[in-house]
Symmetry: C2
């Protein structure tokens, strides 16, 4: 881990972005990524490269309401919250800094995060407007909420999540602690919320795609339990599209 | 005007689009336009070219909640409302057909439209999320609603709109009948709504840019009156950005 000299300040940012035109969070050569674009703005401000760490590495097309990130700065004479307008004036409109604050030297957005919450939004109506379709999955049918509630109750506690891991997943352990998972309706919009200590790559979208497919076929709770216990990605359903997913909240 | 043979049906569409990635409504070679993309879908469906007429020719970056358009079709065995899913399945997600209905042979979306209503949305808060910035002008300050009400009352009835015409405007007459123009707050969002028989190119955005500039400087109602009566574009303020503007409603 990077040890900041005592003269450096540690700044914590909260970041919102529209993932549509980004190749995800993580810096990649030649790709437009959220981390890459904020690090470029930080470099411009500092006149030297600055590394930014984020709490969640969202995929291509996935949005964030409140991604958290931190960076160490040598800039002394500037109140932390002045980084909001300073960075926003350098950033494109599809990424916005919504908070900036001074934090302790040992705070690390990735390693200090205890709980990550994602929300996945659906449109159940037959037709929808373009500005809704940018931020939701258009499943075009009404769902059985009782069945979805039965399924989501199975996602609780320490779990082997192998069935929802991407084929290319290289995690040492595929156990994750799921604090909560549930479907609800908010303002006429079907929403799935899931909180865990951490997620495997593509895990939320795999869970969503699987549960919606099971619900469509009227599968029993037992079927979903078998998918979880089978620990094979092939048992699960398709990966839900990225545009419905938002990194919603990080707790430390 | 195109005279449809009696065997052809005339179909009226209502269309919503996110203007962000379009070079406006009107078909242009080599550009991604809303008319162009729907005509391509109609051609695919009909297996021959089909012309689509729209009520309002929105500019690059301008959105529509309810653009109206019509086309003549030789397809007989298909209920009009079946054009909604048929076209939407061929269209990208940033343009959606929201209604389709049979209309009289002499209906023409452009020439039959009596009243066109546009809405312009503002964000007055210092900071905003990316998904709000896509559909509003971020003016970052609270406005004097009483002053804006005084200004907008001046836009009423038959008016010479030369001061709000684009430099390249080639209209024979620059008189337009304005039925209504007002500012209001809806759900915490400052909005300007204007209805007229027709608009000059860039006219709504010129009016919006002018009124917001006048308000910022605390200009009197008389100043706005002088701009209108001066009949010179140079007297007016800047053109407001396209992302705040929606073609809202067409009346026939």
């Amino acid at each position: 881990m990077h040890e900041a000299p005592s003269s450096e300040r540690n700044i914590r940012l909260v970041i919102a972005y529209d993932g549509t035109d980004f190749s995800g969070w993580q810096r990649q050569n030649g790709r437009r990524t959220v981390q890459g674009i904020i690090e470029a703005a930080l470099a411009k401000l500092h006149k030297h490269p600055v590394k930014l760490s984020g709490s969640g590495r969202t995929d291509s097309g996935v949005h964030a309401r409140a991604q958290v990130a931190n960076f160490h700065t040598t800039i002394q004479r500037m109140e932390a919250e002045r980084f909001i307008p300073a960075l926003n004036s350098l950033l494109p409109k599809d990424v916005r800094i919504t908070e900036a604050s001074e934090t302790s030297a040992d705070f690390h957005a990735r390693f200090s995060a205890r709980l990550r919450t994602y929300r996945y939004f659906f449109i159940t109506e037959k037709e929808a407007n373009p500005w809704e379709l940018r931020y939701a999955w258009h499943i075009r049918r009404h769902v059985d909420m009782a069945l979805l509630a039965d399924y989501s109750r199975l996602f609780r506690g320490e779990m082997d999540c192998t069935s929802f891991a991407a084929a290319a997943d290289k995690s040492k352990s595929r156990f994750r602690y799921i604090a909560n998972a549930h479907f609800f309706i908010e303002g006429n919009r079907l929403t799935f919320e899931i909180s865990a200590n951490a997620f495997l790559w593509n895990m939320v979208r795999s869970i969503v795609g699987t549960l919606i497919q099971c619900e469509e076929h009227g599968a029993s709770e037992r079927t979903v339990q078998d998918i979880i216990e089978g620990r094979k990605r092939a048992l699960a359903g398709p990966t839900a599209p990225p545009e419905g997913l938002f990194l919603w909240r990080i707790e430390f």
